[in-house]
Symmetry: C2
């Protein structure tokens, strides 16, 4: 059962392929009569343009690539959903690839997308990525690239982010406002800009409130991941060290959940003995006990915004107009729940 082509329609109607093509695209130089004829036959034959041929001719595939560190992740799931839904509105399809937080893999995936000639690339960096040649290569090939969430400041492209520093400041300030005197920070992996900014926000909030900044209260992760077990381990360590900590600002809800789980096990009361603020506002943090005070990170909207920006740039390149990169900051909000006092 072969797919029907323009040629077949043309032969059946005794007209040329050219006219058929034009009729279907409502060119002004084909008469209303033949247009009607062509469209009718096309409909009954169930004609669909061969997208391979269209791609070759138009040099675009109406497909974009998306590279994220991890698919199984509440935040990124929401981003994916935002991207897909927005892309669909413009007739774009989305190819998803993961980097597994590995620079090597991320590089490979970007190159794979380039060789498949997607119309643009959306990326959130792996925690380990410190070299940006693969990204600059994309830009040099005149292919639109938009980074979101985990970005590299050094790459000249549009970026969709939140103000991590401000959000972290807000989170820490809330701990201070609710009476915490000695506040620790679980900061996650070393490299990504996110971790750095959240740490800076934490530090700034302390200093602005005339509190001491004690580096020994900042707990790093061992690996490049923000995992449940990291939360447990850091919580256990903090408990052991007995430094009089009464509040923790934690990099990610997943880690916060691990910490809470460990504190529950150890019999540490939350928020009475230790208050906790997480980051991301996963669904999970609203159903765990105690529910977690956290920073709402708008994943869905970030996905939408990222695609919209990419789409703008795709169109710009088609029209050969230059567009300078934009940095778009999305709003975050503190969500107060049971893991902090009020």
């Amino acid at each position: 059962m072969k797919p029907v082509t323009l040629k077949e329609i043309a032969e059946k109607l005794n007209i040329s392929v050219t006219t058929v093509s034009k009729a279907l695209k409502d060119y002004s130089d084909v008469s209303p009569k033949t247009k009607a004829l062509v469209k009718e036959l096309a409909a009954t034959l169930n004609y669909t343009p061969n997208s391979f041929a269209v791609n070759l001719r138009t040099k675009e595939s109406k497909t974009i690539g998306l590279v994220i560190p991890e698919v199984v992740h509440h935040f990124f799931s929401n981003v994916i959903k935002g991207i897909i839904s927005e892309a669909e509105k413009e007739g774009y399809l989305v190819i998803i690839l993961q980097s597994n937080e590995s620079y090597e893999l991320e590089k490979k995936q970007v190159e794979l997308l380039m060789s498949h000639r997607v119309d643009g690339i959306l990326i959130s960096l792996a925690n380990g990525t410190a070299d940006f040649k693969h990204l600059n290569a994309v830009i040099e090939h005149d292919k639109p690239l938009v980074m979101f969430d985990k970005i590299a400041k050094l790459v000249k492209c549009s970026k969709i982010i939140i103000d991590d520093q401000k959000a972290a400041y807000m989170a820490t300030q809330h701990l201070i406002d609710t009476g915490c005197k000695r506040i620790a920070h679980f900061r996650g992996p070393l490299l990504p800009q996110n971790s750095i900014d959240r740490f800076l926000g934490y530090k700034k909030a302390l200093l602005d409130n005339g509190m001491e900044y004690d580096p020994s209260l900042v707990y790093l992760n061992d690996c490049d991941e923000n995992s449940f077990d990291d939360g447990k381990m850091n919580a256990a360590k903090l408990y052991q060290e007995q430094k009089g900590v009464d509040g923790i600002f934690i990099n990610t809800d997943m880690v916060a959940i691990g910490a809470i789980s460990e504190f529950n096990r150890l019999g540490v009361k939350i928020p009475e003995e230790i208050s906790i603020v997480g980051f991301s506002n996963w669904f999970m943090s609203s159903v765990i006990s105690p529910t977690i005070t956290t920073i709402d990170q708008p994943g869905y909207v970030m996905g939408q915004t990222a695609f919209k920006q990419l789409y703008k740039e795709i169109k710009a390149i088609k029209n050969k107009t230059m567009l300078s990169p934009e940095i778009i900051q999305l709003e975050t909000a503190l969500v107060k729940r049971e893991s902090t006092k009020n």
Copy 2:
């Protein structure tokens, strides 16, 4: 900065496009010398074949489509990951689309994928899907189609599933074994095969153990979704009705979490007063308090298996060999936790 083509390589080397193409694909009728020459130049020029042209010529895109009800979902995230990772091994890319549990949208998405001429389609049905014309159309166009998790028995294609009935039986049996005398069931939406089979397993376990099956203890969902709020509502309803229920087998962990949250609020002790078994083994069910006894549903492996089967069928169609549809059942296991007695 235009991409380099075979033609340019040919001109630089003063040979024909044909020979260049053959050299790169190691045809036997080109001399080792020219092969080396071509390959070297191709490497330095950073040649990558124009996939649009290759697609048009070979009539395949090395791309498959995936349609799922919902992206933001722990189980489906794992399936996606399994599919992507397996697809990558064979050089396939994955386009993801959602149906939002809507039949209309599902139909549209399938047609969209067909018009983009993917090499095959993987699908997990929307809860509302009761008509299968859009799926049969795929098969009639000789395009491989594999269904997983939420399937339709009536469609003649390969299916990757778990034995829902057996798993539900196991779950219910566990409630019985741990002393429950009056067991309710939250069954989820009406239509999907999953719900039906899990319900049947529940019922069979009761009868096999000489217990009464009471239809009034089966709670349906209002809408086509398995939501947190459904769990809360059904739990509240069950609490109000005071039917002496001491155990519940719940369709999905998400609903179970809602129910637990409501029981916690109402002061109902779990598992002392009511035991609960969920379904799916989400990560969340291992961190909530109490942790939930549940059925482990292998999402990642299901994704891998689904792609492998699709790949087999893609190859079969290329070789024009017939392949009859396969039904592959994956193993599930009961994960005992705190929401049931022991």
